[in-house]
């Protein structure tokens, strides 16, 4: 039993008697063997502990304000055990557990010895409170070292910050969720595309200036061509370019090359995704959107990146017309940017006719361009097997994000500045 010893409290009780014992001795000394709580409190040390244990052991009874003795005082097992431990003798395990629970006895473990030594080194002043101090109880009665509670914040060895989402990404998700609420399904496609999906399927002729090497990236590797879709689709696209096929168009009147169409390139615009879906078959009526990275060999400046995100999509349904096109754009302006005052401008896109651009009056920036749209040309939809009118639209999502995040340089959307990212407070503000 040498690895157990009395705590300070244990030592005290050994000398002075257990509090509950002292309580019954006091009551027993009175002629009526009873007293008020007030009186007892002033006469007995550690009164709350004394009362708790005396009641638990059935030595006293409490009635209203009165304590009455039930059993006269006698020698207890705890007292005997405290004595034995003090003398280094063995005691019964049951009693040991009770005493340890009452924190009158502690196990003199390695931890105890070590912690006691460490505490001695600091002059028994606690620096950091530890688990060991807690389990050994060695904290009891010790002083805590005072810390500079006011200036500590200035000399933190490690700061913590909340993890935040990237603000541009958050803006994109805001727009994405809006579009989903408006009934749009998200489309995706591969980063590296064939020119076929990028241009040919969109009825953009192979000698179009937008397909010039100065306008689009080409690949050094993989250099080999990609694969074209089903033969009948390719044939119809080819004929439509050459002579209009059955679309009622004159076509572009040149010799279409499947070799050119199967060249691989990084996607130059988000619309490249759409024709794949038109060929696979879309829901009618259907609303679709995309939000993808696009790549163009632009000289990088405040408004141009080599890599940027575009958002666009389609609405396809029977009997859609130009008025619906304007209606859709107006809905976007209101729902996504919160701008209600809008104007429409004539515009041109190689794959839509009629085409339109919408601008809106921003409360701070004045009139800004919001989106461009049009009805896909029949030369685009018919070869891909779609008979219904298809409205195609696209936002200047990077411009909208720049407005929402109050940045003037498109490169900041992909910010490399940790401080800035940490300090952004983007609250799904309207653009």
């Amino acid at each position: 039993m040498s690895n157990y010893k009395l705590t300070e409290e244990g030592e005290k009780y050994l000398k002075e008697g257990l509090p509950e014992k002292n309580l019954v001795v006091f009551l027993n000394s009175l002629p009526q063997k009873t007293a008020t709580i007030g009186r007892t409190f002033s006469k007995v040390k550690n009164y709350p502990i004394a009362l708790k244990w005396a009641m638990e052991k059935g030595w006293v009874m409490k009635q209203a304000d009165q304590l009455t003795l039930l059993k006269p005082p006698h020698e207890t097992a705890e007292e005997a055990a405290l004595k034995k431990i003090h003398e280094g003798k063995k005691i019964d395990e049951k009693i040991l557990n009770v005493l340890m629970q009452r924190n009158l006895v502690v196990k003199v473990s390695e931890t105890f010895v070590k912690t006691e030594k460490e505490l001695a080194k600091t002059g028994n002043v606690i620096g950091e409170l530890t688990y060991e101090m807690m389990v050994t109880g060695l904290w009891k009665g010790k002083k805590f070292k005072q810390v500079d509670v006011e200036t500590t914040r200035k000399k933190l060895p490690k700061r913590i910050s909340p993890g935040k989402r990237q603000p541009y990404n958050q803006f994109l998700m805001y727009v994405r969720e809006k579009l989903v609420k408006l009934g749009f399904k998200e489309m995706t496609g591969p980063t590296i595309e064939t020119e076929f999906w990028n241009f040919d399927a969109l009825f953009q002729p192979q000698n179009h200036p937008a397909r010039d090497w100065t306008q689009i990236y080409s690949l050094k590797y993989p250099k080999e061509a990609g694969r074209l879709p089903a033969k009948n689709i390719v044939e119809r696209v080819k004929l439509t370019h050459e002579n209009g096929w059955r679309t009622g168009s004159t076509g572009w009147g040149y010799k279409w090359s499947s070799e050119k169409a199967s060249q691989l390139m990084p996607r130059a615009h988000d619309t490249a995704i759409t024709p794949r879906y038109l060929v696979k078959g879309v829901d009618i009526p259907g609303r679709y959107f995309d939000m993808v990275r696009c790549y163009r060999p632009d000289v990088i400046d405040a408004t141009h990146g080599v890599e940027f995100i575009q958002t666009g999509g389609i609405v396809v349904a029977k009997d859609l017309n130009f008025r619906h096109l304007l209606g859709l754009l107006k809905q976007f302006a209101v729902e996504i940017t919160g701008i209600k005052k809008v104007k429409f401008f004539t515009d041109y896109y190689p794959f839509t006719e009629p085409s339109v651009q919408i601008s809106g009056e921003h409360p701070k920036l004045g009139w800004i361009e919001l989106a461009g749209a049009g009805i896909f040309r029949p030369e685009l939809t018919e070869p891909l097997g779609v008979k219904e009118p298809v409205i195609a639209w696209g936002f200047g999502i990077d411009r909208l994000a720049m407005n929402a995040l109050k940045v003037n340089d498109i490169r900041e959307l992909f910010s490399r500045n940790l401080e800035w990212l940490k300090n952004q407070e983007f609250r799904y503000a309207k653009a």
Binding site: G163, K164, T191, N321, L326, P354, L418
Partner: protein, 548 residues
């Protein structure tokens, strides 16, 4: 989209009516233009339609506005006087630059405005419509300095000498390609040929070497010039004819007189220019179906007249004649747009689309968003990087051997010429940009990498990944495992770590991450050599894994 500069007073005089700037801003929509800036009399115009070269000058814009704001509607009329000039086309040009169409325009009243519009239009047509002079090169010459007839032929690179525009000395074609700025800019259009095309007159004066440069003597037009000879050369009449028509129509709009030229090929001869109006037919129902407007036939006729068409109602259809300078009309749909433009976009009442459809986010984006939320709750800051990078970042700095990678052939910058095939270099680069910021730095990114995959139809495959990294003054493998473990438990994926090695990581302090017995990523402590490559002084621990 062509950007033009035009003079407001010149534009108004072409329209024949004074129009204040505020209404010009509205009216220019008829010509698909937007006034981007006003500096005294100069209007900066963004001309949206890159397929309507006829609109790329004050004359063309004026034509469209005139139809809407004055009584001058319907087809603009152009008279061509039969001229005597003959241009012989030598069979030899068929190997180099086979075709030309020509015109003579007389009685020009050239002032500064006219000259600048002429030069601007010629430049825009050759650059944008003519595909940087490949499809259309345009030459304009002082007719009186030419001794007809003219021959379009070829010469050997050192077979002739003439003074090119803006130069003082005679040069051979070869020297021009080597030394003249235009020769350097457009020389590639003649590379591979052993003879170069030239226009030359009967006195052996060189007019020009298309598509490079005019001669300084004949090919210079100034305010004194009265009559000009114009040629367009290229490969396809589909480009050449409209280009010439656009130029001569613009000059004729200012009162000049067009004269035809006989162009003699070895097997045929053609009279150019041809300004006969072209014809198209549109169903009345189709106009209303596409526009959503309920227009009566006579309304459509009125709107088409304003758009400078000559329409005639034929039963349920309208037959239209439109000007020869327009090459953009391929389908009745193109005519419908002009009807709506005449009607006025801002007078059309928008109609909401009533159909109900169910929206849905792409699953990968949904998963990414969920992952982003978990990671940020673990105290990690999200970043977003370009997927484009360079070999120095992807391989050398990471101490990794070069491998097959998707690479760009025509990069604008050496910083962005390949697609990343793993994420960690983007995070390292981010750290190296933020060494002045307090540590610890804890970042993550969710994004795509592009892998070479020959089995795919595009020979590549996008892979969505999550990568996370910590940089701190004291850091251990366990710190990053704690993040991975925290993430995996929230993401509800069972995972295992298996010891492996990788040249970017400290030996014995890295593992591969396995989910369902499949390797999905790596985790570990970055090698000090790699840290130094990024000029980092703080230890870095990272992981990256594929999101399936």
């Amino acid at each position: 989209m062509p950007k033009l500069e035009i003079s407001q007073s010149d534009l108004c005089s072409l329209i024949g009516k004074k129009i204040p700037i505020e209404s010009l801003k509205q009216n220019i929509l008829y010509a698909k233009g937007e006034i981007d800036g006003v500096e005294e009399d100069t209007l900066k115009v963004d001309l949206k339609d890159s397929n309507r070269p006829d609109l790329w000058s004050a004359e063309g814009i004026a034509r469209e506005i005139k139809g809407r704001v004055t009584s001058k509607v319907g087809l603009p009329e152009y008279k061509i006087k039969r001229g005597n000039l003959v241009v012989h086309v030598d069979k030899k040009v068929s190997r180099v630059r086979p075709l030309t169409v020509c015109a003579v325009v007389r009685d020009l009243k050239i002032n500064k405005q006219v000259l600048s519009q002429m030069i601007q239009l010629q430049e825009k047509v050759a650059t944008t419509f003519g595909r940087n002079r490949k499809e259309v090169a345009i030459g304009v010459y002082d007719f009186h300095k030419i001794k007809p007839p003219i021959t379009y032929t070829t010469v050997q690179p050192e077979g002739i000498r003439f003074v090119p525009l803006e130069f003082k000395e005679e040069m051979t074609p070869k020297e021009i390609l080597e030394r003249h700025p235009k020769g350097k800019e457009f020389g590639h259009l003649l590379s591979g040929y052993n003879e170069y095309p030239i226009f030359i007159d009967s006195a052996n004066q060189v007019l020009s070497m298309p598509p490079i440069i005019n001669s300084d003597h004949t090919g210079k037009v100034d305010e004194e010039t009265r009559d000009v000879f114009i040629e367009c050369s290229g490969y396809n009449f589909k480009f050449l004819v409209p280009a010439l028509n656009v130029i001569v129509s613009a000059l004729a709009d200012r009162g000049a007189k067009i004269e035809s030229v006989k162009v003699e090929y070895h097997n045929k001869s053609v009279m150019t220019p041809d300004l006969l109006p072209k014809k198209a037919v549109v169903d009345i129902d189709y106009v209303n179906k596409v526009s959503g407007l309920k227009l009566k036939p006579k309304d459509i006729v009125k709107l088409l007249l304003q758009a400078r068409y000559n329409p005639v109602i034929k039963g349920k259809r309208i037959e239209v004649h439109y000007p020869a300078y327009r090459q953009d009309i391929m389908h009745p749909r193109d005519v419908v747009e002009d009807v709506i433009i005449s009607y006025g976009y801002n007078k059309v009442e928008p109609l909401p689309i009533k159909y109900k459809t169910l929206g849905k986010m792409n699953e990968m984006e949904e998963a990414s968003e969920k992952i982003g939320r978990i990671m940020s709750k673990l105290g990690m800051q999200e970043i977003m990087s370009y997927t484009l990078t360079n070999k120095d970042h992807l391989f050398r700095k990471m101490n990794v051997k070069e491998e097959k990678i998707v690479e760009i052939e025509n990069p604008v910058s050496a910083n962005w010429n390949i697609f990343r095939n793993w994420m960690i270099p983007s995070l390292m680069e981010f750290f190296s940009n933020n060494q002045h910021v307090k540590y610890p730095q804890k970042i993550f990114e969710i994004g795509n990498v592009v892998a070479v995959d020959e089995k795919q139809e595009t020979r590549t495959r996008d892979i969505r990944k999550l990568a996370a990294a910590i940089a701190d003054s004291k850091l251990g493998y366990h710190d990053i495992v704690a993040v991975l473990d925290g993430f995996m438990r929230s993401w509800k994926k069972k995972y295992r770590l298996r010891k492996t090695s990788h040249s970017s990581f400290i030996e014995g302090r890295m593992a591969e991450i396995l989910v369902d017995k499949k390797t999905v990523g790596v985790i570990g402590e970055i090698r000090p050599e790699v840290l130094l490559n990024w000029k980092l002084e703080m230890p870095v621990c990272v992981f990256e894994l594929e999101i399936a």
